[in-house]
């Protein structure tokens, strides 16, 4: 009975989290709203990484580059054409990021594991260099102002506005990824993650699926970069280059390959310095590094893995074993 209640609670926890997300700004102050918006933005980009690595097995250090690309494309386009309504900006950024994802994905197709990680890291570095180099367009090292989200005369400048845009998007992204994970494309991505030989002999076009997942990760990174620019309103390439480790941390802490992992991971990572504050912030990267190592060693499947262990004690897995065992006995009798 208690187990049942607990399972039900765990099942609905994501929905509770989402509800809290939406009710958020009504009850909390601006600072907390800002933090939660940041969580949503981090959860979106990390979801892309999570799909690439956790679902499709394609290691990428390219997310900070795509995120910066999305932020700058949005800022450059909208500062020239302020009449563009923000949903259209999101679409433009998404399409541009997807295109860049395909372009970057193409030469990376033959690479995997460590080499893929290095190549995508190189891509990120190149993006930052390019941003600094294209001074007249991007403000170079100085950075540039990013226009707020706007529809017509209605400017969405407050933190609450960005909060709602990001919160709605993060929910849609989670639902979309949940759907994908249970259907044809998600299965194909899992297949290439686990065994490329088997996947290709099942008719899966490895190159096409890798390009798809690259573009998908790029879109999520680009869009979250755009939202980040809405939130902070002034962008520098160094903001993005400093984020590389965070995405991995969020992914691992939440639970690699789990749909809601990035949400839990980003809550943890963003609340941690808030809870400890002061001294902690000076050594944040060190602490993050230690946390990453600890999780990889002790809880490689993140919070979700820890939950799974708790849930293993319930009846679900025992049933599987019983089934298996009874079958072996039956087979021996034959």
């Amino acid at each position: 009975m208690i187990n049942k209640t607990k399972n039900r609670f765990l099942k609905y926890l994501p929905i509770i989290v989402i509800a809290v997300y939406f009710a958020g700004p009504i009850f909390i102050g601006e600072y907390l709203t800002y933090l939660i918006t940041l969580m949503a933005i981090m959860a979106i980009v990390t979801q892309g990484l999570n799909v690439m690595i956790g679902y499709a097995g394609q290691f990428s250090f390219g997310q900070p580059g795509f995120m910066a690309f999305g932020a700058y494309i949005g800022a450059i386009v909208v500062s020239r054409m302020p009449w563009i309504p923000f949903p259209l900006t999101i679409l433009i950024v998404a399409l541009a990021s997807a295109l860049l994802g395909f372009i970057i994905g193409f030469p990376c197709l033959r690479l995997s594991g460590f080499y893929l990680a290095m190549a995508t890291f190189g891509f990120s570095s190149a993006i930052f260099e390019l941003i600094n180099y294209l001074g007249p367009l991007t403000g170079g090292n100085e950075g540039m102002y990013a226009p707020a989200a706007a529809i017509g005369k209605w400017k969405l400048t407050s933190t609450d506005d960005v909060y709602y845009i990001a919160a709605i998007t993060v929910v849609l992204v989670m639902i979309g990824v949940k759907h994908i994970s249970k259907t044809r494309t998600g299965r194909a991505w899992n297949a290439i993650r686990d065994d490329e030989i088997a996947a290709s002999s099942m008719g899966i076009n490895l190159q096409r699926e890798k390009l798809k997942v690259f573009a998908f990760g790029a879109v999520l990174a680009g869009v979250s970069g755009l939202f980040y620019s809405y939130l902070i309103r002034y962008i520098e390439s160094s903001y993005f280059s400093a984020m590389g480790l965070s995405f991995f941390l969020i992914m691992v802490v939440g639970g690699t390959g789990r749909v809601f992992g990035p949400i839990y991971g980003s809550i943890f990572i963003i609340m941690l310095p808030q809870v400890f504050g002061g001294k902690f912030n000076q050594h944040m990267n060190l602490v993050y590094g230690i946390i990453l190592v600890l999780f990889v060693l002790l809880a490689p499947n993140g919070f979700y893995g820890i939950w799974d262990k708790i849930r293993n004690k319930s009846s679900v897995n025992m049933n599987l074993r019983d089934k298996l065992f009874s079958w072996i006995k039956r087979e021996r009798v034959k």
């Binding site: 686990d194 088997a198 079958w327």
Partner: protein
Amino acid sequence: MKSPNNDNILTLDNLSISFGGIKAVDGLSLKVNENEIFSIIGPNGAGKTTVFNIISGFYKPDSGTVEFKGRNLVNHKPHEIARFGVGRTFQNLELFSRMTVLENLLIAKHLYVKTRFWEELLKTKNVKVEEARAEDEAYAILNYLGLEQYAHIPISEFPFPIQKRIELARALSLKPELLILDEPAGGLNMVETEELSTIIQRIRDDYNLTVLLVEHDMSMVMNISDRITVLQYGKEIADGKPEEIQNNPMVIEAYLGKGAMHA
């Protein structure tokens, strides 16, 4: 049982491949007729698996052609060859071992689930219909092979012989016209091997396909094969019906070593 007709479904012509000086396959030619069970046998390292890897597109031969239903498969990728109608199993199993039996079979439905990426994101009605259909088809094959009760159990929990059968089920889910099986009886005991022989013949008849088989278990090969080719050092040393192969002195020598004939 249907009698094999004489239309070639697969023709290997003068196929050769070498790895660092070793000729793994050396000028191999053979014709497989539609609807027959054709076996390739030979000692360890004879090049049997290599032939399979060439047919299914994992290796590119140095020379020669592989013609399947009138199309040259050389230069095609494995996923295209699967689409053309060649399904295979692997000597050492290539199952997705973390996934369940059903998930493994659904992956083999990749070519048959007609949904677009954006439809999947939104989980449209079409996606639900296609997914349900794929699942029904997967269950039909699981039922056919007596595996339905394991649908939701991860592969890694099964003993080797059952994994072999699951891999067969997965290959069948591709709806192949040519099914190539690399040592399907490997690791099976005598009873299981006999059962498998019956299953392979049943599959050939019920699914109306052609079977290309590599197998070391001679009783099985002699029992179910319509024709056999014997390889040694990548070369064909004999071909014919099972009884012809059984009595061929070259074959006996290849298997038992020089001098066996005189003993």
